[in-house]
Symmetry: C2
Subunit: 456 residues, 2 copies
Amino acid sequence: MTTLPAGGGAAALLAACRLVSTDPEERARASVDRSGYVPGGVPDGIVYAESVDDVVEALRLATRYRVPIVPRGAGTGLAGGSSATAGNVVLDVSRMNRILSIDPVEQQAVVQPGVLNAEVNAAASRHGLFYAPDPASTAICSIGGNVATNAGGMWCAKYGVTRESVLSLQAVLADGRILTTGRNTIKGVSGYDLNALLIGSEGTLGVVVEATLRLRPKPLRTATVAAYFADAAAAAQAASAIIAARVQPAILEFIDGGTLAAVDAMMGTGHAIRGNAFLLAQTDGYGALLEQQVLVEAITPFALSIEQTDDDARAAELVAARRNAIPALQLLGRVSIGDIGVPRKRLAEAVAGLAEISARTGVKIFVIAHAADGNLHPMVVVGHDESITEGPAKAALGEMFHLARRLGGTLTGEHGIGVLKQDWLKEEVGGLSLELQHKIKAAFDPLGILNPGKGI
Amino acid sequence: MTTLPAGGGAAALLAACRLVSTDPEERARASVDRSGYVPGGVPDGIVYAESVDDVVEALRLATRYRVPIVPRGAGTGLAGGSSATAGNVVLDVSRMNRILSIDPVEQQAVVQPGVLNAEVNAAASRHGLFYAPDPASTAICSIGGNVATNAGGMWCAKYGVTRESVLSLQAVLADGRILTTGRNTIKGVSGYDLNALLIGSEGTLGVVVEATLRLRPKPLRTATVAAYFADAAAAAQAASAIIAARVQPAILEFIDGGTLAAVDAMMGTGHAIRGNAFLLAQTDGYGALLEQQVLVEAITPFALSIEQTDDDARAAELVAARRNAIPALQLLGRVSIGDIGVPRKRLAEAVAGLAEISARTGVKIFVIAHAADGNLHPMVVVGHDESITEGPAKAALGEMFHLARRLGGTLTGEHGIGVLKQDWLKEEVGGLSLELQHKIKAAFDPLGILNPGKGI
Ligand SMILES: Cc1cc2nc3c(=O)[nH]c(=O)nc-3n(C[C@H](O)[C@H](O)[C@H](O)COP(=O)(O)OP(=O)(O)OC[C@H]3O[C@@H](n4cnc5c(N)ncnc54)[C@H](O)[C@@H]3O)c2cc1C
Ligand SMILES: Cc1cc2nc3c(=O)[nH]c(=O)nc-3n(C[C@H](O)[C@H](O)[C@H](O)COP(=O)(O)OP(=O)(O)OC[C@H]3O[C@@H](n4cnc5c(N)ncnc54)[C@H](O)[C@@H]3O)c2cc1C
C-alpha cells in the first residue's frame, strides 16, 4: 500500500505533479463555473497541465491514489460541470492553448483543448475559413469545453453543433492511457462511434487533449435581417413561417422584450422601443440575397418593422445584441440559465408556457432562443443574494423541464446536464438508457475518477 | 434447465416464434448479402418479424436459448454484415415496412426499419421534402440497414451521412428490452450519445425497430455538370479544384474509364467515348446557378469537355450513370467492393495508388468515388468462378487498406466492417479503442447474441 501524506490521495497527487496550486483564491475560483451553482466546498488543489504528458501523469496519479478529478477548460459552463468541491482536484487544461496546425486545403485545424473558440475562428479566418459551432461565449470558452458539452451556437442552425465539426479526438482516460477517436476523413464507419460518445460526455469519460476540427469555407456573402414584433407569440409565429418557407437561415435568434431592454441598458442600443420581441436572421452563401428576400416575405405579416442589411458592421451590431444577452441579464441579478429544446414548430407554445410558469410562480423568466433549432434559453433572474439552485428558481427549472417534455422536447439543448439538471435526466432518457450509460462510464473509468457526480 | 428439441437452441427458438421459415432456399438466400462473401453454411432458419413484439419475442427466446441472431434488412450490404451461417437464426425485419407518420411542418418521418430508402424519399417528396442519405442502392436497401451501417450516398457531400439525419431510434436489445435513443428535437445533450453509438453498429448492439428521420426541404433548384477527362488524375485534380474554389456541391461523383465503359455496355449510353474519367457534380439551392458557374470555372483547365444542364430529365440520366456503376461492373464478374476513405486532397494520390496496386498484382481494379468526401470505391473484379474473399482479391483488399492508411485515411467510408474487413480494424482504430468497443458490446449484449463475429 502507498503511504499517503496527510490530506490523503489528493495531497499525494498534488505533491507529485509538476505545476499545481493550493492557493485558496485559485481554489475558490476553480470551484465554480458560470452557472451560478456554488458547491459546498472548494477543491483541494489545481493541477495545471501544459502538455499531454502532464495530463497523463495527473491521471495516473489520480488512479493510483483514487482522487476524483474535475477537468476544467475555461470555466464558462452553465450546468456546474466544471464545478469542484472538497476532495476533488481540478485538472486545468487552459494552458494547453496552441493551435497545432491548420490545413487550408483539407480545411482542418488541429488544436489543443485550451484554445479559445474565438481563437480558432480568428486563425481560420486568415485562410478564408471558419469554425461553425460558435457559442455566444466564443471569446471566453475553450474547444475542450465545447467538445465536452457538445456546444452549440448561432451558426448551428445551418452548420450543426460541435459534433458535426469534430473529426477526431485524443483523450486521456482515467488510467492515463491515450485514446484516439474518429479520423481525418469526412466519412468513416470503422467500429463504434467513440468520437460521438466522447463529445458531450462532460469530462466523465476522458480528458480531451487534442481535437481535429472541420473548418468550412467562409460564405461568399451574408445578409442580415432584424425584425421587431409586438409580442413573443408573433415572433415565434414568424420563426415557424421561416421554416415553412423552406429557407435555411445560418442564424435565427429570438430575444424577448425584457432581454432587449437589458441589452439596451448595457449596450446603449435602442432595440426595446422598436418592439417587444426580436428576431435576428442571417442567410449566407451564394443564394444569401434571394433567401433573405423569401425570409422577409415570410415574416412580414407578423412584424412591426424589419431592417435588412448586407453591411458587415451593422450586421455585427445586431449580432452583438444576441451575444450580449446573457451578460446583460446577469447585471439584473443572479441568473439561472435554462436550456430546453422543443420541436421547432412548438416554439410559440414553449414561449407561452414559460410566460404561464412565470405568472403562476412569480419567478421572473426572460427568454432568448436559437429559434431554428427549437432551443430556448429561459433565464430565471433572482436577486443577487438569492439562490438559483434552491427554492423558487429550482422549482421553475423543474417546471420548464416538464414543459419541454410535454411539448416533446428535452431538458438541455446545448449546455449539458452538469450537476444542475441531474434530477430530471432519468425521466427524459429512461432507466434502461441510463443503465447502459453507467455501464459505458464503468468501461471507460471503472474507478469513477473522472468528474464523479456530473453528467450522467 | 430448459429442455431443448433436437437441433438445440435455434430449433427451440424457431419452434416458438410466430412466423418462421426453414425452407432451404430461403435459408440459402438469407445466408448472403451483396458483398460476394459466402459463409461456410446456411442459417438454421429465419424469423420474419412483422411487429416490435415479434422482435422482442425472438430476442427473448434467443437470450433464453443462447441463439446467435443475425439482424437482416434488405440484404444489400457490402461487407457481409447480414450474412449468416449454420447455428445462426436470421431475424428478418423487412416486413416491418410502414412509414408510420410524416410531419411536414417539423420535417420529420417516423418509419419502421424495413421501409426502403427510396420509399421514404417518395413519401417525403409529396410534401416537398427529401431524406438526404441516398445510397446508390436507394431502391433496394432498408432504413434499418442504413442506420446499422451509417450509410452514405451522393447527397452526403452537402447534407451529411445517415448519422446526421437520424434524430431518434427505438432498438430492441439482445434480452428483449426496448431502448430509445436520441430525441425529437434538432439539438440535445442529455446524457451520452447512444443514438450515434447505435448508428453504424452493424446489428451488434440492438435491432432497430423504429427510426425518426430528419427530412429537409427540397432545394429550390439544382444544376448539374458532367465533365469528361483524359485520365483519372485530371479528374481528381478537378475535384480538388472544386473544393479549393469553396463551392459546396450537393453531389460530386467520380467514375473511371473502365467503369464508364461497363455502364455504357449495360445502359446503352455513350460516356466512355467522351473521356477516360468522369465527374458528376450537382449544386443546389438558391445559389445553385452561381455555384455551378464557379464550379465549371474551377474544372475547366482540367477537362476535355463539360456538359451543363438544369433539365431534370437529363440530370437524372447523368446521375443514373453513377447509380448503375456497381450493377454494371457486376455483369463483368464477381466484384469485391472496396470502400476506403482518404483526406479529400489526396484523392489523386489514392487513384494513382490503386492503379499501381492493380499493375503490380495483376488484379483488375475499377474506381468510383464520392469525391467531395474522399470516399473511394475501388472495385476488384474477378472471374465469375473466382473467390473475392481469398487469394489475389483479398490481398488487393489488404493493399488498398494500407494505401488508405498511408494517405491518412480509413478502411471503410460507408459500408462497414462486416466480416470482410475485420483483419484490419485493430490496425486502424488501435487496441485501446477496440478494447473499449468490446466492453460497450458486452454492456449491451453480455451473451453475444447479436450478430456475433461481425463489425467490431
Ligand atoms: C455568456 C455565456 C454565453 C454562453 N453561450 C453559450 C452558447 O451559445 N452555446 C453553448 O453551447 N454554450 C454557451 N455557454 C456555455 C459554455 O460557454 C459552454 O458550455 C462551453 O462549451 C464551455 O466551455 P469551457 O471551456 O468554459 O468549459 P468548462 O466550463 O471549463 O467545462 C465544461 C464541461 O466540460 C468539461 N471539460 C472542459 N474541458 C475539458 C477537456 N479538455 N476534456 C474533458 N472535459 C472537459 C468540464 O469538466 C465540464 O464538465 C455560454 C456561457 C456563457 C457564460
Ligand atoms: C448496388 C449497390 C449500391 C450500393 N451503394 C451504396 C452507397 O452508395 N452507400 C452506402 O452506404 N452503401 C451502399 N450499398 C450498400 C448497402 O446498400 C448499404 O450498406 C445499406 O445500408 C444496407 O441496407 P440493407 O437493408 O440492405 O441491410 P442488410 O444488408 O440487410 O444489413 C446490413 C447490416 O445492417 C444490419 N441490420 C440490418 N437491418 C437492421 C436492423 N433493423 N437493426 C439492426 N441491424 C440491422 C445487418 O445485421 C448488417 O450488419 C450499396 C449496395 C449495392 C448492392
